[in-house]
C-alpha cells in the first residue's frame, strides 16, 4: 500500500472514522481534565487548606498524606481505564477502518 493509493479525505469523511474520532475526543479530554484538576488540588490544598491536610485519620497518617498517596492511585487508575478502553474499543474500531481501506470499501 503506497502513500498515493490512500484517499485520506475519504477515510476522514467515513462515518466509522467520525464515530471513532468523536468517542476518542470526548473520552480523552474527560480523563485529561479530571486528572489535571485532581493534580492541582494537591498544591492548592497544601497551601490554602492546611487545617484540613493536618487532620489525623490513621495514627500519624493525616489527610494530606492520604491525598498525596491518592494521587498515585488516581494516576494508575486513569492509566488502567484508558488502556482497557483503548485495547477493547478504540483498537477494534481502528482495525475495522483499516480493513475497510484494505478491502476497498473506503476509496
Amino acid at each position: 500500500m503506497s502513500n498515493q493509493s490512500v484517499n485520506w479525505a475519504a477515510i476522514d469523511a467515513n462515518p466509522k472514522f467520525q464515530v471513532l474520532h468523536r468517542k476518542k475526543t470526548t473520552f480523552l479530554w474527560g480523563l485529561m481534565i479530571f486528572s489535571t484538576v485532581y493534580y492541582f488540588l494537591l498544591p492548592i490544598g497544601a497551601a490554602y487548606f492546611q487545617d484540613l491536610f493536618k487532620i489525623k485519620v490513621w495514627g500519624a497518617v493525616n489527610v494530606g498524606l492520604l491525598f498525596a498517596l491518592s494521587e498515585f492511585v488516581v494516576a494508575w487508575g486513569i492509566a488502567f481505564i484508558y488502556s482497557r478502553k483503548a485495547n477493547t474499543e478504540f483498537d477494534a474500531m481502528a482495525q475495522e477502518i483499516i480493513n475497510d481501506v484494505n478491502n476497498g470499501s473506503i476509496k
Binding site: A60, N62, S83
Partner: protein, 695 residues
C-alpha cells in the same frame, strides 16, 4: 568493529584506573574504596557487554536512532522509567523528603502525573506519524525545512540544559561519594556514554537504561524492606516511629525557627508530615506543576523512546509500565527519605550535601551496618554505582536526542534536503554524537562550581513552553501551521529562558555576600519582636514581578524572643578550641574514673564535630565571598530578582500556546491544511506508520 571494541574496553579500564589513583576523601573510607571500584567495575562491564552485543545489530539509521523499532512495550516502559529516574529524581527526591518530609513527597507527585499527558495525548499519535525525531512530527504537515530547524534548535537547547545539570550533578556526586576528582568523573561519564551511543546507538542506550532501572528498583525495594520490616509493614506504626525520632524533631525545629519555641516534641514530629516546610509559594508550585505535567511530554529524549517500539499499542503499553514503575518508585522514596531522616539524621545528611542528595546512599550504608562495616560500605558502593550508571545512561539518552536533531533534522533534512544515502546518514549520526558528547564534556567541566540547580526546571519549562504547544497543536488542531509553530516555539522558549535569567534562581552577589558575612562576622544581638500578620501582594502582577509601587506578599511571622549576638566563625573556632583544650586536660586527670572518662571522651568528640562543622561553614563562606568579589549585580545586571517565581511555566506555557494559535490564525499555509486529513487519519489508525525493521 573489533578494534573499536578493544578501544573502548581500554578506555573503561583507564577510567577505573585513573579514578582509583585520584580518589581521596569522600563518604567511603579509604580502606573500603577497592570495593566501590569493584562494584563500579562490574556495572561498567555489564553495560559494555550490552554495548558490544547491541553494536552487532546497529548498522542502519532506523537501528541507530530507533533500535530497529523492535523494542517491546514492557522493555520500553522500563527504559522510559530509566530515562526519567535521573539522579535528580532518584537522589534528589529522597533527599528532599529526608530534609523536609511531606513537601518532598508532594513534589514527587507531579513527576508521575506528567505521564498522563504523555499517555493520553502524545505517545500513540507520535508513534503513528513520527520517524526518528520531534522534527519529523512537526514537519509532517508544515514546511519541513523551517520546522525541522526550529525543532532541532529547541531539542538541542532542552537537552543541553538537562545534560549540563546531570553532568555537574554527577561530577559532584561522585566526588562526594568516593572522592574522585570532578574533572575526571566528567570525562569518565562522557567517554562511557559516548561508547554506548556511538557503537550501540539506541539499542545499547535502551538496554543500559533497562539494566539500570532494574538495579535501581531492586536496590530501593531491598532498602525499603529493611527500613519497614521492623514495624511489621504497618504504615501508622512506621510513621509513628519517624515522628517520634529526636533527630526528625530537631530538624523540624531548625526549619521552623521561632515558631518551634511554643511547640511540644510530638507536635514538631507530626509537623514533618504536614505541608509547608519547603514549598512556601503555592503560585510557584503551580507554575512548576504546569512545567512538569506539560514538559515531560515535550522532552525530546522521552519522545524519541516512542519510535523504538513496533506499534502504537506497544507505545501505550510502554507508558503504562513506565507509570507503574515510576509511581511505585516514588512511593518507595517516601520510605527511603523518612527512613534516612530517622536513622541517619537530617543534620548528618545535610552536612555531607546541603541539598540532601546523599540521603539514599547514606541510608544504604547505615542499613548495611554503618560506616565501619564491610556490608555497609558494600551497600553504599552499590547505591553509588547505580547512581553513576543512572547519570551515564540519562546523559547517553540526551546525547542521542541532540545528535538525532543535528544529524537527522539539520544535516539530512535541511542541508541535504532528504537526499542523503543510508550510509551517509549513519555516519552523520555517529559524527554528531561525538560532537555533542565532546561539547557535553567541555560544558560539564566549564560549569564546575556553577549554580546549575535551576537547569532541570528550565529544561522542563522550555519543553513545556516550546515543544509541547507545537507538537500538541499540530496533532490536534486543523488550523495549526508553520508560522504558528515557529512563533510559538521561538517565543515560548525565549520567554522561559528570559524569565529564569531574572528569577531568584540566579546568583545575586549582594545576597551571597550578606549571608557569607553573617557566617564570618557573626550577627548582632536582636531585640524581641512582635508577631506580624501575613501581607498580601497588592495585585496578582505583584506576586510575579518586582514592579515599582508593589507591595510584596509576606508570610505571617510569630513573635520572636530576644536573641543574643552570634559569634563570627573565627571567634567561634577560638572558643571551641579553648573548650577542647580544657576538656582534653580534664581527660588526662580522669584516667581512673571509667564513667567520667566516657562522658569526657564524648564531650571531646562533640566539640571536635562542632569544630569541623564550623570550619566547613567558614571555608564555604570564604569561597562564596571570593566568587562574588567585586560584583554587585547578577549576570543580567540586577541586584535582586525581577521575576519572583523560580519556575517560569505559569507565564511562558500559556504564551507558547497563544503564539502558535495567533501565528496560525493570521497566516495561511496550503500544505498544513491539505495534509491535515492524512495526519489525523494516520495518527488515529496507524495506517502507513513506520514499520519495524526485520532482522
Amino acid at each position: 568493529m573489533n578494534r573499536n571494541h578493544i578501544n573502548f574496553f581500554l578506555a573503561a579500564i583507564a577510567i577505573l584506573g585513573s579514578g582509583a589513583a585520584y580518589a581521596a576523601g569522600g563518604a567511603v573510607a579509604d580502606e573500603f574504596k577497592w570495593m566501590t571500584f569493584a562494584v563500579f567495575g562490574v556495572i561498567i562491564a555489564i553495560t559494555m557487554a550490552i554495548t558490544f552485543w547491541a553494536a552487532r545489530s546497529t548498522h542502519t539509521t532506523s537501528e541507530f536512532y530507533a533500535a530497529g523499532r523492535s523494542v517491546s512495550g514492557i522493555q520500553n516502559g522500563w527504559a522510559i522509567a530509566g530515562d526519567y529516574l535521573s539522579a535528580a529524581s532518584f537522589l534528589g527526591i529522597a533527599g528532599l523528603i529526608s530534609l523536609y518530609g511531606y513537601d518532598g513527597f508532594m513534589y514527587s507527585v507531579g513527576w508521575l502525573v506528567a505521564y498522563i499527558t504523555v499517555l493520553l495525548m502524545i505517545a500513540e499519535p507520535c508513534r503513528n506519524i513520527g520517524k526518528y525525531t520531534m522534527g519529523d512530527i512537526l514537519a509532517f504537515r508544515n514546511d519541513p525545512k523551517k520546522t525541522k530547524t526550529v525543532a532541532a534548535m529547541s531539542t538541542i537547547t532542552v537537552s543541553t540544559f538537562y545534560l549540563t545539570a546531570q553532568m555537574v550533578g554527577g561530577g559532584v556526586l561522585i566526588k562526594t561519594l568516593i572522592g574522585i576528582d570532578y574533572e575526571i568523573s566528567i570525562i569518565g561519564v562522557g567517554i562511557l556514554m559516548l561508547a554506548y551511543v556511538v557503537f550501540g546507538g539506541m539499542k545499547a542506550t535502551t538496554w543500559v537504561q533497562i539494566t539500570k532501572a532494574v538495579l535501581l528498583v531492586t536496590a530501593s525495594l531491598l532498602l525499603v524492606f529493611m527500613v519497614w520490616s521492623p514495624y511489621g509493614f504497618s504504615l501508622p506504626a512506621y510513621l509513628q516511629a519517624v515522628i517520634g525520632d529526636a533527630d526528625v524533631q530537631k530538624q523540624v525545629a531548625k526549619l521552623l525557627g521561632d515558631q518551634a519555641l511554643s511547640m511540644t516534641p510530638e507536635e514538631l514530629g507530626q509537623r514533618f508530615l504536614e505541608p509547608g516546610l519547603f514549598l512556601k509559594n503555592p503560585i510557584d508550585q503551580i507554575s512548576l506543576g504546569m512545567a512538569l505535567v506539560l514538559g515531560t511530554a515535550g522532552m525530546p529524549h522521552i519522545l524519541m523512546r516512542f519510535f523504538t517500539v513496533p506499534t502504537a499499542q506497544a507505545a501505550r503499553t510502554s507508558v503504562i509500565w513506565a507509570m507503574g514503575i515510576i509511581g511505585g518508585f516514588y512511593v518507595l522514596t517516601l520510605f527511603l527519605g523518612t527512613g534516612a531522616a530517622m536513622l541517619v539524621g537530617s543534620a548528618k545528611i545535610a552536612g555531607v550535601d546541603a541539598g540532601g542528595n546523599m540521603a539514599a546512599p547514606l541510608l544504604a550504608q547505615y542499613l548495611g551496618g554503618g560506616e565501619n562495616s564491610i556490608l555497609g560500605n558494600f551497600f553504599l558502593a552499590f547505591v553509588a554505582a547505580v547512581a553513576f550508571a543512572t547519570i551515564v545512561a540519562v546523559v547517553a539518552g540526551l546525547v542521542l536526542a541532540s545528535a538525532s536533531a543535528m544529524a537527522h533534522d539539520i544535516y539530512v533534512g535541511v542541508i541535504r534536503g532528504d537526499h542523503a544515502t543510508p550510509r551517509e546518514q549513519v555516519v552523520a549520526a555517529r559524527v554528531s554524537s561525538i560532537i555533542v558528547g565532546v561539547i557535553a564534556i567541555i560544558v560539564g567541566i566549564m560549569a564546575k562550581g556553577q549554580n546549575v540547580a535551576h537547569l532541570v526546571a528550565l529544561a522542563f519549562a522550555v519543553a513545556a513552553s516550546s515543544n509541547l504547544p507545537a507538537v500538541f497543536l499540530t496533532l490536534y488542531w486543523k488550523k495549526c501551521n508553520t508560522t504558528g509553530i515557529i512563533a510559538g516555539m521561538v517565543i515560548g522558549s525565549l520567554t522561559a529562558i528570559g524569565l529564569v535569567m531574572v528569577s531568584p534562581n540566579m546568583t545575586y552577589p549582594k545576597a551571597v555576600m550578606a549571608s557569607a558575612k553573617k557566617v564570618l562576622e557573626g550577627e548582632p544581638a536582636q531585640p524581641a519582636k512582635d508577631a506580624v500578620p501575613a501581607v498580601k501582594a497588592s495585585s496578582f502582577a505583584c506576586e510575579l514581578f518586582a514592579l515599582d509601587g508593589c507591595v510584596k506578599s509576606e508570610p505571617a511571622k510569630v513573635a520572636s524572643p530576644e536573641k543574643p549576638a552570634k559569634l563570627g566563625a573565627a571567634e567561634k573556632l577560638a572558643t571551641l578550641n579553648g573548650k577542647l583544650q580544657a576538656e582534653e586536660a580534664a581527660l588526662a586527670l580522669l584516667a581512673a574514673d571509667p564513667v567520667g572518662l566516657k562522658a569526657a571522651q564524648d564531650a571531646v568528640a562533640g566539640i571536635k564535630k562542632d569544630i569541623a562543622a564550623t570550619e566547613k561553614a567558614k571555608t564555604k563562606a570564604e569561597e562564596d565571598m571570593k566568587k562574588v568579589e567585586g560584583q554587585t549585580t547578577s549576570i543580567m545586571g540586577l541586584e535582586k530578582p525581577f521575576f519572583l517565581l523560580k519556575n517560569p511555566g505559569l507565564i511562558s506555557i500559556p504564551l507558547g500556546f497563544l503564539m502558535v494559535i495567533l501565528g496560525s490564525l493570521f497566516t495561511r499555509d496550503k500544505r498544513s491544511e491539505e495534509m491535515w486529513d492524512e495526519l489525523y487519519v494516520r495518527q488515529n489508525t496507524g495506517i502507513n506508520a513506520e514499520a519495524a525493521s526485520v532482522h
